[in-house]
Subunit: 208 residues, 2 copies
């Protein structure tokens, strides 16, 4: 299983990559991945959370299955099958992510990769980003990419980063009015050079 | 891997079920399934086509991956993982489908199952139908469910059967005007009690 851990950093969607410490494709950058362990994982979702914890030392709240990639040409070691997931990390948790000593990690721009990834991982990443975009386009706000408290402007900006296009402010405000997962923090405002902006958070039991 | 082979029969969406000839859950109805054989399958898509051919004796043109189901509670034999696909069979090919001698097959209403399926196959089927519905709702015409020649009324009816709700005729006609996969068969009409209806077919290279 391979995971595209996505976050927003410097106003761009970024993905966590790991430099492979072993052959094949040693030294190349890849999505973090792991292998199902039936002895400890109740389901593949458990595998994803376990692998992410071991690779990042952070508990990731939101993961979603993307697609299965399979075939004999994916890996020089022979026939392989991988279930691809994406996972979302709030922007303010990026600094908490720490790799293992054995493997270098790096956040890379997910829309404009400046390196060729190992195996077919470029395709896997494209599928993961497409799935997230589609979800945000059609039905959901990417609340799991936001910190614990945020303004509506930050929320709109995060949507725009995911979708790669600007959104009309008044249409966006209308859309989020019906979002039950969005909770106003009473009496809390972000104060800056402009007029204070209401702060929001995400409902406790929200699952995306 | 398990497959929901779907077709339209008696104006309802139907799914092919196979009665299990062996334990566990012997005698219960299940989705047809098979196991990946790396020696002959170039990818999981190949596995799906091979399994469908062996279970139905028909070549199925269109398959799509739905989701992976996994866990220790799915099957009494222990931890298991299954990639679920749906496949679409044109309504006029239903009679060509023949099961193996060892296994009884039956077409069952996919929206109103009158039997509890083996294992977690009711959930698998629900996920498959939801994926097809979503695709037809959002972006595609279910052309692979139609026979080689069909009228626009038949096409609309097939969409309605998949979606489970009536569609407005003029809105539907506007939508299909932009569908490049839909090809008018010049000079061919369905003649009946009403005025002749233009016949259509699907473009050769059409992939859904």
């Amino acid at each position: 299983m391979d995971i595209a851990l996505l976050t927003v950093k410097d106003e761009r969607l970024h993905v966590l990559l790991v430099r492979r410490a072993n052959e094949p494709e040693k030294g190349r950058w890849a999505l973090p991945g792991g292998v199902l362990d039936p002895a400890v994982d109740c389901s593949l979702d458990d595998t994803v959370r376990r692998v992410l914890r071991s690779k990042t030392h952070v508990d990731i709240r939101y993961t979603e299955q993307v697609q299965v990639f399979s075939g004999q040409d994916r890996d020089p070691r022979g026939w392989s099958l991988s279930v691809v997931y994406y996972a979302l990390l709030p922007g303010d948790k990026v600094s908490a992510v720490a790799g293992d000593k054995a493997e270098a990690i790096e956040w890379m721009d997910a829309m404009e990769l400046n390196r060729q990834l190992a195996f077919d991982h470029t395709l896997l990443l494209e599928a993961a980003v497409a799935k997230l975009r589609d979800k945000v386009e059609r039905e959901a706000l990417p609340l799991h990419l936001l910190p614990g408290r945020f303004t509506l402007t930050e929320l709109q900006r995060t949507c725009e980063v995911v979708l790669g296009r600007p959104l009309d402010k008044s249409a966006f405000r209308r859309r989020i009015k019906e979002e039950p997962a969005l909770v106003e923090i009473e009496g809390e405002f972000l104060r800056g050079p402009q007029r204070p902006a209401q702060l929001y958070t995400t409902a406790e039991d929200f699952q995306f």
